[in-house]
């Protein structure tokens, strides 16, 4: 089994790191994993995305036309990628910044106001981890404990951000464990 998760948003929203934490968690659980960034020209304010591939067998093509899931942190990302997600996949929408819909009925759309949640926690910079928490809680693609451990590892040396992000993770989880707004 192989699944691919696409994280996408503005540059600066912590998209790449978000994917990295998920990839790390998958590795910890013994999966094969590949993390692929967009590394467009250093044009500021562009869109950034990354793809995390998780599998039980060695991973062949790192190029995927149809990812299993999408975490869309801003509107252009949703517009660009919503249509390519595989049927039955998850599409997580950052409803704080995105007012439109995924335009798909064959996928599991979850809207979570991750930016607002993060703002309430103290910093919009934690929005990515809110989204990650929400996505993993819904997809169960990795164990939540493993994920928590990996978030801890990621931030343990950035002291002022550790508890913020651990909280963000839990808040993300909570957000999808409540009936998601549809």
């Amino acid at each position: 089994m192989q699944s691919e998760v696409m994280f996408a948003g503005f540059g600066g929203q912590g998209i790449l790191m978000c994917g990295k934490v998920l990839a790390h968690a998958a590795l910890e659980e013994g999966h094969e994993v590949v993390w692929i960034p967009s590394y467009g020209p250093e044009m500021r304010g562009g869109t950034a995305y990354c793809l995390v591939m998780i599998s039980d067998k060695p991973i062949g093509s790192p190029v995927v036309r149809n990812p299993s899931h999408l975490v869309a942190m801003n509107r252009p990302s949703l517009e660009k990628f919503a249509s390519v997600v595989k049927s039955a996949g998850i599409v997580l929408i950052n409803s704080s910044l995105i007012s439109i819909d995924a335009g798909r009925t064959d996928v599991d759309v979850i809207k979570v106001p991750v930016t607002s949640i993060a703002k309430e926690l103290g910093s919009v910079r934690a929005a990515n981890i809110v989204a990650l928490g929400a996505f993993v809680a819904r997809s169960k693609i990795v164990g939540f404990d493993t994920l928590r451990h990996c978030v801890h590892e990621e931030f343990v040396n950035k002291n002022n951000f550790l508890s913020l992000n651990l909280n963000a993770l839990e808040e993300g989880k909570k957000a999808v464990e409540m009936p998601a707004e549809k």
């Binding site: 020209p41 250093e42 044009m43 500021r44 304010g45 562009g46």
Partner: protein, 254 residues
């Protein structure tokens, strides 16, 4: 005129790709204003560098060539030699001009090539993600000087205006900055003077502009302005380093 303010004709409508608060945008505008005012857009050729300004050609409304990293002065030489009637300027960052392109700028200046060199010194490699430049300040942290620039190991930052002024061939060489309106006004005057020397076919002209890179300095644009004024300008002193009239070189700041 007086107090009204509008986009110059030599500037295109395109929004730039630069980060918020990046002074590349200010410099583009000044160049465009000068070209409008001196009226040579129809025979102007700009040369875009390899650096954050690699797409500069999108933001102007006249002919452009896009250079290889550091080689803009050689290209400008090629153009001016075969077409002295074109007005040519290069636009280069500090990595581009002071590192890989050192040979080309020194020789173009020394031959007295009749083009104008706009040198954007932001003390860092912007485009590639903030590596150390030859102009990075002592102690400044960059992605390749993670413990701060160690002058024992890699020497002092290079002062390009002073270095070029040490050559014997007549030239106009000045250093300005664009971090605040008062400086911007002076910078524009310097750019205008540089192009005027070219229009008169007098000499090579070089305008160093101390600039900001908020993104790679890890500062807000306003902080970047402050750091420039307090730190960079102490080392990179503003002024005229050489004029074709004063062949001797040396500082005679105005």
């Amino acid at each position: 005129m007086g107090k009204t303010y509008q986009k110059p004709e030599s500037l295109s409508d395109q929004h730039t790709h630069y980060c918020p608060g990046c002074t590349h945008g200010v410099i583009h505008r000044l160049i465009a204003e000068v070209i409008d005012e001196l009226g040579f857009r129809g025979r102007c050729v700009g040369i875009a560098p390899v650096g954050c300004a690699v797409l500069a050609y999108n933001y102007f409304t006249f002919d452009f060539q896009e250079a290889a990293h550091g080689r803009a002065p050689a290209m400008a030489t090629g153009i001016k030699r075969v077409r002295p009637d074109l007005i040519v300027f290069t636009y280069q960052g500090d990595g581009d001009l002071a590192s890989i392109g050192m040979g080309e700028i020194i020789h173009a200046a020394n031959r007295g090539e009749k083009f104008t060199s706009i040198f954007v010194n932001n003390a860092v490699y912007g485009m590639t993600g903030g590596q150390m430049a030859p102009t990075t300040m002592p102690g400044q942290h960059t992605t390749t000087s993670p413990f701060g620039r160690n002058v024992e190991d890699v020497g002092m930052p290079i002062k390009m205006a002073e270095l070029l002024a040490a050559l014997q061939t007549p030239a106009f060489i000045t250093r300005q900055t664009v971090i605040k309106p008062k400086y911007i006004i002076k910078a524009k005057k310097a750019i205008k003077r540089a192009f005027t020397y070219q229009l008169e076919n007098q000499c090579f002209s070089f305008v160093e502009l101390v600039s900001t890179c908020p993104t790679n300095w890890g500062m807000t644009p306003a902080e970047a302005v402050e750091w420039t004024e307090n730190t960079l300008l102490g080392y990179y002193q503003l002024g005229e380093y050489k004029t074709p009239e004063s062949i001797s070189g040396g500082e005679d700041a105005k």
